[in-house]
Each structure stands twice: as structure tokens, then as C-alpha cells.
């Protein structure tokens, strides 16, 4: 029994190490005073300073933030509506449309939207990327919101209706405050998914528009440089903060994804 537990712990620790060592290395080398990313030389903030002077990178970060803000805002509104609709009404087509983008290989959505935009003569750029991000974020928000609704006490809405509230009033005054944690968590999730997305952005951004992941991609295709480590570290920090906040607001989030 005891030896079995030790074996289990060892295997689990190997798996945890496998998950974390690569990320720790990326972070550690962002402070390493060497171009090579091969062995520890000494501590430095140089790579962060270089990053602050890298105009391309800053422009890419600006694009990413802008897209993520718009995409999370719009997809939260649409995703919440979809979540409410799927919870309250018998919908046949909506759940399929909401869930398929999550279930199919990402690349399919990327190429389908590429054909679509080019055929309609839509210039590929910030707008086409935002449209694409909204389309895949709606599903994630809808799932979180619907999970929240499933745990809600419906008698509260009934009570409001019995007291003479219109359906709209009952929704705004009762349902919405109750599902708010789910909505906010969904919004943070959408923001994270958008700012991190590479595949769909890769196909819908066109030649002139660069987001942070696209910038990282073109940098690592050329060479490994500690500047990438620095921007990666900052991006990880941002994601970590967003996820911790989202998880605090809605603990169930951890089990929905």
C-alpha cells in the first residue's frame, strides 16, 4: 500500500515537472545575461529593456489588446444571450452552432473564414481578426453562462414575475445579477483566448496586421532570442492574473474548460 502510494506520487510529480519545467525555463532565461538561451550566465533586465524599445512588438501588443477587448466585449454579450437562450428555450440549431467551433480542429475555422473574407473582398486586418475571435469565443462564454444558470434557483425569477415584473425586468433585476459571476468569468476567458489565439489569427490577419502571437511566431521562426522569453514572461503573467481573477469570481470555471 505504502509503496504503491510512493509510486503514484513519483509518477504524478514527473507529470507535474513535465508541465512546469519548460515554463520555468522560459521565465528564468528571460533574466539571463546571454543571447544563447543555453546556460545560466548572470542576472539582467536587458531583455525587458530591449522589449520596451521594440516598436514592432509594442504595436503588436497594442493590436492584440484592442482585438481582445472588442472580441471579449462582443462575445460576452452574444455568448450570454446564447447561454440564456439554450437554458430557457428549446433550441435546436443554436447549441450546434455554439459548440461546433469548439469541437472541430481550429484550422478549419481559420481557412473557412479566410475564404469567406477574401470572397467578400473584406480587407484582412484588425476587423477580420476580431470577427473571427468573436465567433470562437461565443461558445466558451455560452457554456460558462449556461452552467451558472443551471445552478440558479428559478423560483426567484418566478417570484419576480408574480410580483408583476416584465420578463425583461425579471432578467435585468434578478437573473443577470445572479449569473454575473459566470458572465464576468466568461468575459475574462474570452479575453484570454483572444489574446492567445494563434491559428485562427494566422489565417485571418492578412499580411499587414501583426498580433503578439504572430510576432512571437515570426521571431522564433528566425531565431531563439531572450527577447521572446521576456515577452512570453509578461504574457504569462497577464494570463495568470486574468485566470486567477476569473477563478475567484467563478470557481466552477476550472471545471468547465
Amino acid at each position: 500500500m505504502r509503496s504503491r502510494r510512493i509510486a503514484l506520487w513519483t509518477a504524478a510529480l514527473v507529470a507535474y515537472a513535465f508541465l512546469y519545467v519548460p515554463l520555468v525555463i522560459v521565465v528564468a532565461y528571460s533574466f539571463n545575461d546571454s543571447r544563447l538561451n543555453a546556460e545560466w550566465v548572470g542576472f539582467t533586465f536587458d531583455w525587458y529593456r530591449k522589449l520596451a524599445e521594440n516598436d514592432e512588438m509594442i504595436a503588436a501588443a497594442g493590436n492584440s489588446l484592442l482585438i481582445a477587448l472588442v472580441a471579449s466585449l462582443v462575445s460576452t454579450v452574444l455568448g450570454t444571450m446564447a447561454g440564456v437562450a439554450m437554458h430557457r428555450y428549446r433550441m435546436r440549431v443554436l447549441p450546434v452552432l455554439v459548440l461546433t467551433p469548439i469541437a472541430i480542429p481550429e484550422i478549419l475555422m481559420g481557412v473557412a473564414l479566410l475564404i469567406f473574407f477574401v470572397m467578400l473582398n473584406v480587407t484582412l486586418g484588425l476587423v477580420s481578426v476580431a470577427i473571427a475571435h468573436i465567433a470562437f469565443c461565443i461558445g466558451f462564454v455560452a457554456i460558462v453562462v449556461r452552467a451558472r444558470l443551471a445552478g440558479m434557483d428559478e423560483s426567484l425569477v418566478e417570484a419576480a414575475r408574480d410580483c408583476g415584473a416584465t420578463p425583461w425586468q425579471a432578467f435585468v433585476r434578478v437573473t443577470l445579477p445572479l449569473i454575473m459571476p459566470g458572465v464576468v468569468a466568461g468575459a475574462l476567458m474570452a479575453f484570454t483566448l483572444s489574446i492567445d489565439d494563434f491559428v485562427i489569427t494566422f489565417f485571418t490577419a492578412g499580411a499587414g496586421t501583426v498580433t503578439l502571437p504572430l510576432q512571437i511566431y515570426s521571431m522564433i521562426k528566425i531565431a531563439v532570442t531572450p527577447e521572446v522569453n521576456a515577452v512570453s514572461t509578461l504574457l504569462m503573467l497577464l494570463t495568470l492574473v486574468l485566470i486567477v481573477v476569473a477563478a475567484r469570481i467563478s470557481p466552477s470555471l476550472l471545471r468547465t474548460k
Partner: protein, 304 residues
């Protein structure tokens, strides 16, 4: 919901469409229609300068053809890439299962108060940027890094030529496993957590060894979780293009790379569409098969 409110809501049908309409419309326009256009594009011929040929040609004939499908069926090069992708995705799924199982089992056996934290630690890396996680392996497997030196040092003792770790199938597979591991842990944990310990205790009382208890009780009961995890790993792994693109060698091109090439380099939309459609159908079919086998397995165990 009681009958009264349900009735009130049904009364106002406009309410339903006011709520469901906007997301429905958005997804029809920006997901369903683009997907249908892509399906339609797979039956057309490529244009002279990329894109599609005009629908009505100079000779007045409509541009509808099965050419791209025939090309996929006839040229074994594409079939080979498909097979290679399936093999990579299968190896990834198996490796994830082997790594994830002990972890999920340990979390399921741990005291309740620690479980959320242990799960969070599994999910957290998944939330860091995908490219960063790929990039990390460029560093670890790099020619100047400690790992490559150690491996080649050992190989040199046996007189074997040094092998590059980066830009190889090995690098691609390690990273595929790394990126998809959380998808296997979560459904496995969700299943293992529900197991009734009394079954194991009973088996032990009847003299079953730890090994027997695992293979005769725990593992068969966990099959629905195994299949769910397998589907969650297999589908994205099958369509991946960035990992072989960044970490692979010249022979590691997978179906995802082929699709990317058709759309961004050769600009053959019809053939790219055919590849995308076949990829999606294959992924969904295999996942559906896994789900079906999983449900059958669960039913059989429930009956036994």
C-alpha cells in the same frame, strides 16, 4: 420552472428570438456560411492567380468538379501525410494517457481540500500562450542546451554519432504530448473521482492483488473517461500545424501543414478545402467512434 412562467415565456415568442436571434445570426453569418462556402469551394477549380476560377467560364460552362477529391485519392503522397498525422495523433494520445493516468488517480484519491489546487496546477500551463509552450521546447531541445549535450554525451560513449533533438519527429511528439496533456487529465479525473472505493476493498478482501484490482476494476470503470480524454487529445492533435512547423524537420509535415501550404503558399483553395473537410470528417468520426465505444463499454460494465 413552473408551468405558469413557462407559459408566460412561451407566450412571447418574440422574447425567444430577441435572446437567441443575435448570437444565432452571428454564428450563421460568420461560422455556418463560411463553412458551407468552403465545402462549395472544394467542388471548384483553382483560379489562375489563387482563389477560385470564375464560376461561369468563358465557354459558358459552370465550374463544378470533383478534381480535387480525385487528386487526394490518387496521389499517395497525401494519403501518406494523412496516415502520418493519424499515427502522430495516436502516439500523442497514448503517451498522454500513460502520463495522465497516475496524476488523475492521485488527485482523485487526495483529500477534497487539495483537489482543486492540484487540478488548477494541471490546467494552469494550458492557459499560457500556445506558442510560448512550443518555444519552451526549442530552448530545452536546442543543440547548445544541457539535454542535447547530455544525450549526445551518452551516445558518444557507445560510439553513436550525435543526434539533433530539435527539428525532429521526437521534438514534435514531445511537444504534442506537452500541449495536450491537460485535456487527458481532466476527463480522467472526473471519472476516477466518482469510483466507489468499496469495490476495491471488496476485491482486496477476496484476495485480488493491487495489479488485479487495477486491471479488473479501476481501469474498466474508467474507460468512459479514457475515451473522452482520447477524443479531446486526438482531435486537436490531428489538425495541428504550428508544432511541426516550428519544431519539426523536413519530414514532419502533417496534414495541418499541408492545409496551410494550400491556402498561403500554393494558393489552391479547392484542394485546401478538400483537405480541411477530410481532416474534420476524420477527426469527428474517430472521436464519435471513441464516444460510442466508451458508452458501449460503460453499459457492458454496468450490466456485468
Amino acid at each position: 420552472m413552473t408551468g405558469a412562467t413557462l407559459g408566460a415565456l412561451r407566450e412571447s415568442r418574440w422574447g425567444k428570438w430577441a435572446v437567441a436571434g443575435p448570437p444565432l445570426l452571428y454564428l450563421v453569418v460568420f461560422f455556418a456560411i463560411p463553412t458551407l462556402i468552403m465545402v462549395a469551394a472544394s467542388f471548384r477549380s483553382p483560379g489562375e492567380f489563387g482563389g477560385l476560377a470564375p464560376f461561369v467560364g468563358d465557354d459558358g460552362r459552370l465550374d463544378l468538379t470533383l478534381e480535387s477529391y480525385v487528386r487526394l485519392a490518387e496521389d499517395t503522397v497525401y494519403l501518406e501525410v494523412f496516415l502520418k498525422s493519424v499515427v502522430y495523433a495516436l502516439v500523442t494520445t497514448l503517451a498522454c494517457l500513460v502520463l495522465a493516468y497516475p496524476l488523475a488517480a492521485l488527485i482523485a484519491q487526495s483529500p477534497k481540500k487539495y483537489r482543486d489546487l492540484m487540478l488548477l496546477l494541471v490546467i494552469l500551463p494550458f492557459w499560457s500562450n500556445f506558442l510560448i509552450r512550443v518555444y519552451a521546447w526549442m530552448i530545452i531541445l536546442g543543440p547548445n542546451a544541457a539535454l542535447a549535450k547530455a544525450v549526445n554525451g551518452v551516445l558518444a560513449v557507445f560510439g553513436v554519432e550525435p543526434v539533433p533533438l530539435l527539428f525532429s519527429s521526437f521534438a514534435v511528439l514531445v511537444c504534442l504530448v506537452y500541449v495536450h496533456l491537460p485535456f487527458m487529465v481532466l476527463p480522467l479525473y472526473a471519472n476516477l473521482e466518482k469510483h466507489d472505493r468499496a469495490l476495491l476493498d471488496a476485491a482486496q478482501d477476496l484476495g485480488a492483488s493491487a495489479w488485479q484490482r487495477f486491471w479488473r476494476i479501476t481501469f474498466p470503470l474508467s474507460l468512459p473517461g479514457v475515451y473522452a480524454g482520447a477524443a479531446l487529445v486526438f482531435i486537436p492533435a490531428l489538425g495541428i500545424f504550428a508544432i511541426p512547423d516550428i519544431l519539426g524537420g523536413p519530414n514532419d509535415s502533417l496534414i495541418g501543414n499541408l492545409i496551410k501550404q494550400q491556402f498561403l503558399e500554393t494558393r489552391d483553395w479547392p484542394f485546401g478545402s478538400v483537405l480541411s473537410i477530410v481532416l474534420t470528417v476524420a477527426a469527428l468520426a474517430l472521436a464519435g467512434l471513441a464516444a460510442w465505444v466508451g458508452r458501449r463499454g460503460a453499459e457492458e460494465i454496468a450490466r456485468a
